[in-house]
């Protein structure tokens, strides 16, 4: 009987732990007043995407690994969270942000929502080499990246960009479930700068918990350069996505 009473107590109080439309409207208003152009919103838990109905003024991210996630061009991240939701693990999210060197500002409580600014202290972006407005899912997370056709050698898929040298960051992965098909071979991404090979990244089939969003970082001399990203594989019927930018460190 006590189990029944406990269950009913949980059921009856669950709505009190969840935000209302009014909470979201207040969060949206707070962000309109406080947020800058280099800000973005990170939802927590990442599934709490009802927020997208209300907070369209800033880029919204639903990254799952806040320690490893890239936020290029984002100086301040607004952690919009549901602190009382069951199994929400907000503490772990905050700890992950701390581990990457981010520092929190003052938390604002808006009903069942919490809004907390985090200065990321990230590097300054010098050039976006792919369109940050285009997004695709890789490893179940929507990521700003540009879809590139995979070609068979000697005719690889090709993405051209011009931008400033500095620390080059390349991220790449196969979109959708085909990333997990183990019978397929790896996708190879070759990076050329001003016609010269710089580095290569292999994107093998994803075997969880290994991430399917592969990373390559390399140094490129200062000044403007032409970047070429060549994408090749034996089997080409997979959507492939590349994100690349340069930063000052």
């Amino acid at each position: 009987m006590s189990l029944g009473a406990l269950a009913l107590l949980f059921d009856a109080t669950l709505p009190l732990r969840l935000p209302t439309d009014r909470d979201y409207a207040e969060a949206s208003a707070a962000l309109r007043v406080r947020a800058g152009t280099a800000d973005a919103i990170q939802l927590w838990p990442p599934w709490a995407e009802r927020a997208r109905l209300f907070v369209g003024s800033l880029p919204v991210r639903a990254e799952e690994d806040l320690r490893a996630a890239d936020y290029p061009g984002v100086e301040r991240l607004w952690l919009l969270s549901l602190p009382r939701v069951p199994h929400g693990r907000l503490g772990a999210a905050r700890e992950a942000l701390r581990q990457r060197g981010a520092t929190p500002g003052e938390e604002i409580r808006l009903g069942a929502l919490a809004l907390e600014p985090w200065d990321l202290h990230g590097p300054r972006v010098l050039s976006f080499l792919t369109d940050p407005r285009e997004e695709h899912e890789v490893d179940y997370v929507a990521r700003p990246c540009t879809q590139v056709r995979i070609g068979r050698l000697p005719e690889p898929g090709r993405l051209l960009a011009r931008g400033q040298g500095g620390a080059l960051h390349v991220r790449a992965g196969v979109v959708g479930e085909r990333a997990y098909q183990q019978s397929r071979g790896p996708v190879r991404l070759d990076v050329q700068v001003d016609g010269q090979p710089l580095a290569a990244l292999a994107v093998p089939p994803t075997v969880p918990p290994e991430s399917g969003w592969r990373k390559l970082d390399a140094a490129v001399p200062a000044g403007e350069h032409e970047f070429v990203f060549l994408v090749s594989a034996r089997d080409v019927d997979r959507p492939f996505c590349v994100s690349a930018w340069t930063s000052d460190r």
Binding site: L3, G4, L53, P86, E137
Partner: protein, 525 residues
């Protein structure tokens, strides 16, 4: 005990399902079964018009959905033919679904019969414990096979128990009970292949019985040979080239695809699956009191079995429950579909769980609380959370999670399958009907074409709204949240040029169906 109480409970089940069916969306599988039932109905009409032609052309009409035996779909077709085509009493979908309600009522009846062996209170509580959860309640509404095979598993158990003389009055005419057993088993075979597991369970049960009963059980077993005859009769596809069709049927299931399934933060894509997956899933989706009672029932049956203190009937319930779930703990059997494939596990534990609940009320009565009051309080404590779950979540049954998971949002945080089968789309159809311009193209994502047509036939979706194959050629998109289909939402953003939903179905904050509209169209944000 008279059959009046089980019959009354069965009627109540039918009425409850009938009264709450209107919002239940058409699940993906139903779309295929509706199409099959349409084809079989044409065959029935041909049978009445030109029997010889119908007997000759079985393959033409019965090849649709060859991978499942015919009985359930034949009943869907008969019901639609009678109540929709001839009498025009029911809309199409309801016409097809009525036999599902009948099977659900039969399940209630047989659980009540099993429960009644303990007490009148157990007879009422056994089916109540099974149905007082949104997952089971939801499945009771569908023109599918999961509740029918669950009901027939219980039915075979009751028929077997009667035939060997461990349930009800001693059989005056054993042959009648044997024929009934063979018939019910044949119906089970003709509904779903799970039934092939029943003879081994009954054989083991018979071998474990005391000598006189064992002898009777072993003499009863041959009646099961009627089963394949019923299967053959109820599945006209087998009437021509039976070997080929049986081979196709077996081949489909031995090579069944493993759909990706989200479980505790990881996608299960293929064997080996976690051994305790079915039990963990039950613990997470059912209301807390049922979890506790079913766990206690299973433990009590196992304990008594280990101590040789099980009556033949309780031994049978334990065997049937185990037979329903053990195949899904082999680590290789496909595990998609929530709990639907092992519903018989909790159904066959229900009488014992109900008995434990009634016993706890009696203990309270022994402490001075009036017996009826103690029973009512215990029943309320056990059933109210489940009734709350139904009131709160229905008709979105594939999304329901219990208190151990932390409800639906807790399950989302734990990384559990959000929904399946696309039926939740019913929540956004009224919005689409109200906003989409005439002839608008809508990307329905997981809703297959058959279900889309069924929504239009049922009047739930405007007939002019067109089915788009993807966001690229759509004006609106109703994207269903599935971990394995996460790529479709960013694809919609890129195609539509917006990341702001127009509306959606959010259950306790969790996105289930998210609707996007191209900017400038009615309803666009």
């Amino acid at each position: 005990m008279s059959r009046r109480l089980p019959l009354a409970l069965a009627a109540l089940t039918f009425a409850a399902l009938f009264a709450t069916q209107s919002g239940v969306g058409f699940v993906r599988d139903e779309g295929y079964y509706f199409e099959a039932a349409k084809s079989y109905e044409q065959w029935l009409q041909l049978l009445f018009r030109a029997p010889a032609a119908a007997l000759r052309d079985t393959e033409r009409y019965w090849s649709v959905n060859f991978e499942h035996p015919g009985l359930a779909k034949l009943l869907f077709a008969v019901s639609h033919l009678v109540f929709t085509t001839w009498l025009r009493w029911l809309p199409d979908a309801l016409g097809w679904r009525v036999p599902g309600f009948v099977f659900a009522a039969l399940l209630t009846y047989w659980l009540a019969v099993l429960g009644a062996e303990r007490s009148r209170a157990t007879a009422v509580l056994a089916p109540a414990l099974f149905w007082a959860a949104e997952r089971t309640f939801f499945h009771g509404h569908l023109a599918c096979f999961d509740v029918p095979i669950c009901a027939l598993t219980a039915g075979v158990g009751v028929a077997w128990a009667r035939a060997i003389g461990v349930l009800g009055a001693p059989a005056p005419t054993p042959r009648r009970h044997g024929v009934f057993l063979g018939g019910v088993f044949g119906c089970a075979l003709a509904v779903k292949h799970n039934a092939w597991l029943l003879p081994p369970v009954l054989l083991v049960h018979g071998l474990l019985l005391p000598a006189p009963l064992r002898r009777r059980a072993l003499f009863t077993l041959p009646w099961l040979l009627l089963g394949p005859v019923v299967l053959f009769v109820a599945w006209p596809l087998l009437w021509h080239q039976p070997a080929r069709h049986v081979s196709d049927w077996i081949s489909f299931h031995t090579h069944h695809v493993h759909y990706a399934w989200y479980y505790l933060g990881r996608e299960l894509r293929g064997p080996p699956f976690p051994i305790f997956y079915p039990l963990v899933l039950l613990a997470l989706v059912l209301p807390l009191p049922q979890v506790a009672l079913f766990a206690a029932a299973g433990a009590k049956l196992l304990w008594d079995f280990a101590h040789r203190a099980l009556s033949p009937l309780r031994l049978l319930e334990l065997g049937l429950a185990g037979g329903a779930i053990l195949p899904f703990m082999l680590r290789t059997t496909p595990v998609f579909g929530g709990i639907k494939h092992w519903l018989a596990f909790i159904a066959l534990l229900s009488p014992e769980a109900a008995h434990l609940l009634a016993r706890s009320a009696e203990l309270a009565a022994g402490a001075g609380v009036p017996r009826l009051r103690a029973l009512l309080v215990a029943a309320a404590a056990a059933l109210l959370p489940g009734l709350w779950q139904i009131a709160h979540v229905h008709p979105y049954g594939t999304s329901a999670y219990g208190e151990i998971a932390g409800g639906i949002p807790g399950a989302a945080s734990l990384g559990m399958q959000r929904q399946y089968w696309s039926n939740n789309v019913t929540a956004v159809l009224p919005w689409l009907n109200a906003h989409a311009p005439r002839g608008a193209r809508v990307f329905f994502h997981e809703v297959n074409y058959e279900s889309y047509r069924a929504y239009q036939q049922a009047g739930m979706l405007r007939p002019d709204i067109q089915y788009a194959s993807g966001p690229g050629d759509a004006q609106y998109a109703a994207v269903q949240w599935h971990r394995e289909f996460r790529d479709r939402e960013p694809e919609t953003w890129n195609a539509f040029g917006t990341r702001t939903p127009a509306t959606g179905l959010y259950l306790d904050e969790t996105p289930q169906v998210v609707v996007y509209a191209r900017p400038g169209l009615p309803g666009a944000p």
